[in-house]
Structure formats: C-alpha cells, structure tokens
C-alpha cells in the first residue's frame, strides 16, 4: 500500500512551485515603487479584486478553525458566518467606495495615511499602525498552525506539526517578499478558485461517500449529538448576543477595519472593482459557510471524540475520499491559508515601513522609495518569524485566536465611520475611542471567563465602549475645521474613475 505522504507531498510540491513561480514573476515585473509593491500600482480590476478580497477573508480560520466551531458548537455558526459576511459586503461597499475615492485623490496607501490625514494627527497614525501589526501577528500564527495541522494529518504524521508550520512559513515568505501585493493578488486568484473547488469536493465527499446522502448524515448526527442541529448548540454558545458579536466583529473588523481588507480598496483600479468585490463577496463566502457547515456538522457523527477539532476536515477526507482527491483538498487548504497570510504580510509591513519608519521615525527626512520597499522586505521576514514562534506553541482553538485578532480592527470603526458620516467627530474622540476599545477588549478577554461579558465577546464589548467614548469625547473637544471636513466629504462623494 502506498503511504499517505507519498500521495500528499507531490501534490503539495506542485502547488508550492506554482505560487513560488508567481512570486518570482511578479518580482521580475515589479517596478519597486511603494505604490506598486504595497497596493499593486492601484491597477487591480474587478475579477482579481473579488478573488483577493474573498480569498483573504477565508483563511485557515475558514478551512480549519470554523470546522472546529461547527464540530463543537453546531449549526448556529452558519447564522453568525453567513449573516456576518453579508453585512461585511454591504458595509464594505458603503465604506470601501468612499475610501477608494479619498485614497485616490489624496494618494493614501495605508489606513494610517487616512487617519493621519483626516484627523490631522500623527498619533492616530501611530496607534493604528502599532495596533494593526499587533493584531495581525497572531492571525499570521494561526495560518502557520493551519499549515502544520494540514501537513501532519495529510502525511499520516510523516511531516510533524512544527516542520509543516515552518514549510508553510517559508513558502509564503518567499513569494510575498519577492512579489509584493501584485504576487499576492495573482496567487489569491488561483488560490481562491482552488479553495472553492476544494470545499465543494469536501462537501460531497462527506455527504455522499461517508453516508448515502446528506440527509442520512444529519440523521446520524441527530442520534449522536442532536443539540448540534439546533441553536444555541450543545454548550449554549450561540446566544443572540454571540451571533450579533460575530456580525459586528467579522464585518467591522475582518471585512473593513483590518489593514489587509482596507488596502484592497486602495489597490482597486476603479470603483466598479470595489463594488464588484464587496457586493458579490457573499457568492463566495456565504456558499462556503453552507458547505463548511454541512460537512463539519456531519463529521461529528463520524469522529465524535476528537481532541483537536481543527483537524476534522483532513481526517474526514482521508477516511472517505480517494487519497489523491483528499490531498488536493488539503492543497486547497494551503491555498486558503496562504492567500490570507500573504495579505497579512503585505499589510503589516506597509504599516511598519511606510508609517512607523517612513513617516514617524524618519520624519522630515527624505527616504527614497527603494529603501522603503527594502525596509518592508526585512520586516516581512521579522513578522513572519514572530508568527512562527507563536504557532509553535499551538495556542488554543484556531477560531478563537482569529476572532480576537480581527476584533482589533473593529475598534477603529467609530473613528472610521465618524470620519465619513459625522462632521462632529474629532481627533481627540478618534484617539481616545481607539485606545479605550482595544484596552477594554484585552481586559475582558483576560479577566472574564471565555472572554465573554453580558453575552458579548470581548471585541464587541470593546466596540461598544469605543463608540461611546468617540461620541462623548468628540462632543467635548474642539471640532475639525469646516473647510477640512468639506474637502474630505467632497472627495468621498465624487466619483474619481
């Protein structure tokens, strides 16, 4: 009998070679300017922007982490997942179109550029840049963990977790450093298609190979753990407050507020690309929830006592699907996590090299663009190494790590939405609300059991506090000049393409 690794590893190698080649191609083609390296020269059309947005949205968190959520907490995850991605698309459309217009007019590259420019505050630039990097690193770690699990399970343990995580790190590092956001966007297109095919195969493998049909699978779950098929689930996790928490954090944080999503609005070639990517995103992300929910809930009846539920999907696949097909789906799992981790690198390094190094540390001094790109390349390496060190320690359920990470982006929602829609929002309000939101989130996460207060998760509690502080502090502080606000309003409402 052919060992599992002999089937899986060649398929993984083919996939890795393809993404590395794209990184090299983008490197040769790149102009080594800041705009080209960090936002792909503002040239991304609707199709590629759609795929890079949705592929970044669905990471190891979607492929492995959500499997654990369905396995543990049941069908309520579909409400939280589907509702939140629809809300993210809608919110992204309203906000993203405006940010695209403003960014193009004023030459913004990072979200910090926008905050510093609108609120006339370098402190706001620093807060967003530091927080952005701080929250991206655990999310990067999460992707390496996903890679480690995939290697471990799909090679029957021949490639252990630590080695798998390190290989994931090395491949993603090389093509991201070489090719910048252009390589990221092209690989995201290929990886998005692969991922979709992979989920589709997995759904049918479980629904029709493990059982005669999906209905029989659900009947089996009903006999083993019926609470998984209803809300709030076996551990009473999916309360209305928790579903609302996911709505808010996934849309305001993951979908808009985190730099890897926000910078897609700047990378867009035109407004049509932004509208297409955002409003059509549920076509991808919602359908994924359907497939994910189906095979992972049914999976509980097949493997009822997994100690690491994040590994459910590859286990099911290798148990029921032909090994080559299962290996292809696992390669799609790599596609899911690589397409996210590359975007996280690009976002984190732009915050460090452009904002912290270029604008704050070297304030007033002229730094040429090639130096900024080189500094970015060095920091990609450092950030990725930090992520790898965290991944090696295997912290908790993947999904919990992910939620805490992107909830950080949601703490900037008051400052962002206020700047676009409320003229009375001020610099003081923006600074205090961001700091208080993050501080509240971290405090609740550390002190409350399960990081839950009043039924809401830590990020949502921070989000509510951030809004309250933004409104009160803005009303008590000096407003921005009317002419300045009007300049931004006009830019936000005037189509630029």
């Amino acid at each position: 009998m052919i060992p599992l690794w002999a089937i899986s590893i060649p398929i993984f190698i083919i996939y890795f070679v393809i993404v590395l080649w794209i990184g090299y191609w983008a490197y040769k083609r790149g102009k080594r300017t800041v705009e080209d390296y960090y936002i792909a020269g503002r040239e991304t059309g609707p199709l590629f922007l759609f795929f890079t947005y949705v592929a970044t949205f669905v990471s190891a968190f979607g492929f492995l982490g959500l499997a654990g959520m369905y396995y543990t907490h049941g069908v309520g995850m579909i409400a939280a997942g589907s509702g939140s991605v629809i809300l993210a698309g809608l919110l992204g459309y309203f906000i993203g179109t405006r940010l695209h217009r403003i960014g193009k007019k004023f030459g913004h590259i990072t979200p910090s550029d926008y905050f510093a420019d609108y609120y006339q505050s370098d402190l706001m630039r620093a807060i967003y840049a530091i927080a952005g990097v701080m929250f991206i690193i655990p999310y990067i770690a999460l992707q390496y963990m996903g890679g480690g699990y995939l290697f471990e399970v799909s090679t029957g343990g021949a490639v252990p977790f630590h080695i798998g995580a390190t290989i994931t790190f090395a491949v993603a590092a090389i093509y991201s450093i070489l090719g910048g956001l252009r390589a990221v966007i092209i690989t995201d297109f290929i990886q998005g298609v692969m991922m979709y095919l992979g989920f589709f195969i997995a759904f049918f493998a479980v629904g029709f190979l493990a059982y005669p049909n999906p209905a029989a699978g659900f009947a089996a779950v009903a006999s083993v753990k019926p609470e998984l098929l209803t809300v709030p689930g076996p551990l009473l996790f999916w309360t209305p407050m928790m579903i609302l928490s996911y709505y808010l954090m996934n849309s305001f944080g993951h979908g808009v507020g985190m730099p890897y999503s926000w910078m897609r609005f700047y990378a867009a070639k035109n407004e049509k690309a932004v509208k297409t990517a955002l409003l059509l995103s549920p076509l991808f992300t919602c359908l994924l929830q359907y497939m994910l929910g189906g095979f992972n809930i049914i999976g509980r009846s097949i493997f009822p006592d997994l100690t690491s539920p994040d590994t459910l999907l590859p286990r099911i696949l290798f148990a029921f699907a032909p090994a080559a097909l299962a290996a292809f789906v696992c390669a799609a799992g790599f596609a899911a996590l690589m397409s996210s981790v590359d975007s996280f690198f690009a976002a984190a390094t732009s915050l460090i090299s452009l904002d912290l190094y270029g604008k704050l540390l070297k304030r007033g001094a002229k730094v040429d663009e090639k130096t900024l790109v080189r500094v970015g390349m060095i920091f990609i390496g450092i950030i990725m190494l930090l992520g790898l060190v965290i991944a090696w320690s295997r912290p908790g359920l993947l999904v919990m790590l992910g939620i805490l990470a992107f909830s950080g982006g949601a703490q900037f929602a008051p400052a962002l939405i206020g700047s676009l829609f409320w003229k009375r929002g001020t610099k003081v309000g923006a600074i205090l609300s961001s700091i208080s939101g993050i501080a509240t989130m971290l405090t609740v996460q550390s002190l409350m059991p399960g990081g839950i207060l009043g039924g809401f998760n830590a990020g949502t509690v921070g989000f509510f506090v951030a809004w309250a502080v933004y409104i009160v502090a803005s009303l008590l502080s000096k407003p921005l000049p009317d002419s300045h606000i009007e300049k931004f309003r006009k830019a936000a409402e005037t189509p630029v393409d």
């Binding site: 069908v75 309520g76 579909i78 409400a79 939280a80 589907s82 509702g83 629809i86 809300l87 698309g89 809608l90 459309y93 999906p214 209905a215 659900f218 009947a219 009903a222 019926p226 609470e227 098929l229 209803t230 809300v231 709030p232 999916w238 309360t239 209305p240 579903i243 609302l244 709505y247 049509k272 509208k275 297409t276 409003l279 059509l280 995103s281 549920p282 076509l283 919602c286 359908l287 929830q289 359907y290 929910g293 189906g294 809930i297 189509p495």
Partner: protein, 64 residues
C-alpha cells in the same frame, strides 16, 4: 434620491440579517431543519446582494 428598487433590495438584505436570529427564539426540531432554514436565507441574501451589485454597476441612478 435613492431609487425604490435599491431601497427594496436594502430592505430584503436587512430582513435577511434579522432572519438569521429567528432560530434563537423559535425552537426548531433537531434534524436538518435549522440548516435548511439558514441556507434558504443565505440564498436570499446572496441574490439580494447580487441584484444590488447589478443596480449600482449597470444602472445610472444607483451608481452614485
């Protein structure tokens, strides 16, 4: 002035977002019912978002 068609699509999206909370308050049987209920609303949400996209990219009134 936003067109009535866009307002209608936005209303459907809003109803979809609220509909996902219904199984939290109404007890569904422990079979595939909740799963199917969510899928129906997911499909409605996807269609509404797609219609919205069509309106704002292909119709002049919605492109502002």
């Amino acid at each position: 002035m936003t067109s009535p068609k866009i307002l209608l699509v936005n209303l459907i999206i809003l109803i979809t977002l609220i509909a996902f909370f219904v199984p939290s308050f109404v007890k569904f049987p422990a079979d595939a019912s909740t799963f199917i209920y969510y899928q129906i609303w997911s499909a409605i949400g996807i269609l509404a978002m797609t219609a919205y996209w069509w309106m704002v990219t292909h119709e002049k009134e919605g492109s502002k």
